[in-house]
């Protein structure tokens, strides 16, 4: 059998393909993005990025009741957006297998909060599977689809960052042929609000049958060990527990909702002390306490905030402190994130800073506008929140409020807020950073980019036309690398009596068509340079300081965005006539 090293996310995609998933949808979000990106490489699967997670979920729901096997994938906060259908779908139950992947991000590597979506699943009465390695990521997708069909249950596969973003060995199988299940249009089943009281009892009955399944399922696995110490664990934390306490008895829960209450009672009664080791909230621990089991220790010992690791477990168990870094003895500079070389967001934040406006930001690379050197973004909460927050700040009495949102985020959840702002008489200024991609997650297409997930051409949403159609009269589209144009458009927008929009347009430098194009990099003419530092204040990672103190531009990194040349008062920066060969560059420039 062929074995490969796969990311947890790649293994989920492989499992979906092998199990005959025919429709898959989602919205990019770390740490879930690679699932659909990988699945798009397999044939015979209808894979797409949707406008947002709610839409993706509903499309998947339709495909599943229509009889297909379906996978929808999103990060933890994405499920908040999809929570409405997520809570109701179980009332109807599914026809074809339906698995939603919730990729939780303990440690908040690329998220605004920590959120354990097992609670959402419990609220929705949806069963939860938690794999512990890449092989199980693949296997549990298949099992999840089978259980989903057998019990009519929409099912959640919960991952966390380390599981999603680690690689381990996976045995590859051939895809199994799965035919579409019969769909019967049946209002008594699928018109939930009308027949809600009829449908309600089956949700409880299904959950009880699933609990009985959990009691005997091989994925809730007992591993014999010492009678003194037992471990109840799930997900990637299982690996850490095995690493640190190799001799303990283990109950590894592959299914964490509904929980196998009898199995848990029995396991805990056979061990003097039981450690509950789970990433996120005390989900299993609270269930044990509710069962009246008291010989357990969980979050009080191991903590609730952040990612788990073997180091953390060792330290919590008093098995030795891992060595610390040398920050107390030597300055270890941090490397904070910064906007890429040539990023078009730079000019907008420079201008906003200069204009001294209050800025409600949004989710994307441009959250970095809040950091030095710009410090020109003052609030960020969640996807699409910029416009509503700006509206509220304005109502609270703030003058000169600007909302800043990316193109993908605007399509995701900004449009209804703009409708509302126009309707309710706001005069806010909105900047749409239109870089033709979902940049922060690595560059995924969206409805306003004119491409679909496999790169094929798609109808392109015209953002300016959308804004005008919503009733905004002042809409200007400007070249995002033109400092004067950006500044002028912002000033006009702020002066406008009604709501006004500036679309700062210019593709993300990471897009293949940008990264692959031929450019003439810019150079610094030391005979004209007065070392006035203006170009350093562009904060471009390609502008380095030579030993003589002059600025120097890395010719490989330079994207010829021209912004440094625009700020230079002595015109000392201009395009190099001859393209520098890569061999003349230093390695690993920032």
């Amino acid at each position: 059998m062929k074995r490969e090293l796969l990311l947890g996310n790649q293994a989920i995609a492989r499992g979906a393909w092998e199990a005959g998933v025919r429709f898959a949808a989602g919205y990019p979000g770390t740490p879930s993005t690679e699932i659909l990106e990988t699945l798009a490489h397999y044939p015979d699967v209808d894979v797409q990025w949707s406008a947002n997670e709610k839409v993706a979920f509903e499309e998947g729901m339709g495909a599943a009741i229509g009889g297909l096997r379906v996978l929808v994938a999103m990060k933890h906060v994405g499920l908040n957006v999809a929570a409405d259908p997520f809570m109701v779908f179980p009332y109807a139950g599914t026809n074809g297998g339906f698995v939603v992947v919730s990729a939780d991000d303990p440690g908040m590597h690329s998220s605004q909060n920590e959120q354990d979506n097992r609670y959402l699943a419990r609220m929705a009465k949806v069963p939860v599977l938690e794999p512990s390695d890449a092989q199980e990521c693949k296997d549990f997708v298949k099992l999840g689809l089978e259980l989903s069909e057998a019990y009519g249950a929409p099912l959640m596969l919960r991952t966390t960052t380390r599981l999603a973003h680690h690689k381990s060995l996976v045995s590859l199988d051939e895809p199994q042929p799965v035919s579409r299940r019969t769909f019967t249009a049946d209002a008594r089943r699928f018109s939930v609000p009308i027949y809600r009281r009829l449908l309600r009892p089956q949700v409880e009955e299904r959950l009880e049958r699933l609990r009985q399944y959990a009691e005997g399922s091989p994925i809730n696995r007992l591993e014999a060990g010492d009678a003194s110490v037992g471990i109840v664990t799930s997900g990637i934390a299982y690996q850490y527990a095995k690493e640190v306490l190799p001799h303990a008895g283990v109950l590894r829960l592959g299914m964490t909702h509904p929980l196998p209450t009898n199995l848990l009672r029995e396991f805990c009664s056979k061990h003097e002390k039981v450690y509950v080791i789970e990433e996120g909230e005390p989900f299993i621990e609270e269930a044990l306490l509710a069962l009246g089991i008291t010989n357990i220790e969980g979050k009080a010992r191991f903590g609730v905030i952040g990612e788990y690791s073997p180091e953390r477990l060792k330290s919590a168990l008093g098995l030795g402190e891992a060595p610390h870094d040398h920050a107390a003895e030597i300055r270890i500079l941090s490397r904070p994130p910064m906007l890429c070389v040539g990023c078009g967001h730079r000019t907008v934040f420079s201008s906003l800073r200069q204009l001294k406006v209050t800025v409600a930001g949004d989710i994307g690379c441009y959250t970095m506008g809040a950091l030095p050197p710009y410090e020109a973004s003052h609030t960020t909460f969640c996807m699409g929140a910029s416009i509503g927050t700006a509206f509220g700040l304005e109502r609270a009495g703030e003058e000169r409020v600007v909302a800043v949102i990316g193109d993908s985020t605007f399509v995701h959840s900004g449009i209804p807020s703009l409708v509302d702002a126009v309707y309710n008489g706001s005069h806010l200024t909105l900047v749409i950073l239109d870089n033709s991609t979902t940049g922060m997650t690595g560059g995924q297409p969206h409805p306003a980019s004119g491409r679909r997930i496999r790169g094929e051409a798609a109808p392109k949403l015209d953002l300016a036309a959308v804004c005008r159609s919503l009733g905004v009269e002042q809409v200007e589209t400007v070249d995002t690398w033109d400092r004067k144009a950006i500044n002028g458009a912002l000033r006009r927008a702020l002066a406008h009596a009604g709501p006004a929009i500036v679309i700062a347009k210019g593709p993300c430098q990471r897009l293949p068509e940008m990264a692959g194009r031929e450019i003439t990099p810019y150079i610094v003419d030391e005979s004209l340079c007065t070392q006035c530092e203006a170009c350093f204040k562009v904060w471009c990672p390609a502008i380095l300081r030579s030993e003589s103190g002059f600025p120097t531009i890395d010719p490989v990194e330079c994207t010829a965005c021209t912004v440094c040349a625009q700020v230079c008062p002595t015109e000392a920066i201009y395009p190099a006539v001859h393209l520098h060969a890569p061999s003349q560059t230093s390695a690993g420039t920032p």
Binding site: L5, T30, H109, S110, R162, H165, H166, K167, S168, L169, I236, Q239, Y240, K242, E243, P246, S309, P310, E311, K314, A322, P323, H324, D325, H326, E329, I330, R331, I332, L333, S334, R335, P336, P337, M338, C340, V341, C365, M368, L371, P372, P373, M440, G442, R510, W539, C540, P541, I543, L544, R545, V556, P582, S583, T585, S586, A587, G588, T589, P590
Partner: protein, 204 residues
């Protein structure tokens, strides 16, 4: 490595550290693939922030007969491979003090977004680590890569040096490089890899 583990069930712990854009992930992936060819159980993981470029990147590779955690625990790495001085310093404490080695590219990339970074960058990081009695092997990998025609091959030079300290035969490494790297980069990277092995032999 656990205290109770014998040589037969030894898990090898390698940590690659560098700056986004230096090719840290590729070096780690090639190591994981080489270990896989040897028939080991292998796990790999990476930690990096939101920035695609310019941020600190750490990549963990563990292999042996049976590997649990994908993450290396501080104090247990057989090898810390720093593609940049500050990053080697940042992750030095991951190395196992009695038998582990820190391989470091004697090259500084000053964080552009930190005010005063030029003045406060720890240029003496290598000397500091030597004073702290770490086993440090410093090498001019960036210069060597540049001399070979492309400074971006610094990751391959460092991987070559690391390979000399990892118990996997040279032919396995070469076959992984040949199958994994695109044809147009292959010959240059094989030279870079060989140069790295020479550097390791020279500083041993």
């Amino acid at each position: 490595m656990l205290a109770s583990a014998t040589q037969a069930d030894k898990v090898h712990n390698i940590l690659f550290a560098g700056v986004g854009g230096q090719g840290v992930l590729l070096a780690a992936e090639l190591t994981a693939l080489a270990a896989l060819r040897m028939g080991f159980d292998v796990k790999q993981t990476e930690v990096h922030g939101v920035s695609q470029r310019g941020g600190s990147v750490e990549c963990h590779v563990r292999f042996g007969p049976r590997v649990w955690s994908p993450m290396v625990t501080p104090g247990e790495a057989d090898l810390v491979v720093g593609l940049e001085k500050l990053e080697a310093l940042r992750f030095a404490h991951f190395v196992q003090r009695s038998y582990g080695t820190i391989l470091v590219n004697d090259h500084a990339i000053i964080p552009g977004s930190v005010a005063g970074a030029q003045e406060t960058y720890p240029f003496h990081a290598i000397e500091f680590l030597q004073q702290k009695s770490y086993r440090v092997m410093a090498m001019p990998a960036s210069r060597v890569a540049r001399d070979l025609g492309d400074g971006r091959m610094v990751n391959t030079v460092m991987l070559g040096a690391a390979s000399a300290l990892i118990p996997i035969p040279e032919e396995t490494w070469l076959s992984v490089l040949e199958s994994r790297l695109p044809a147009r980069f292959r010959d240059a990277n094989l030279k870079a890899f060989a140069a790295g092995r020479v550097l390791a032999a020279g500083s041993a």
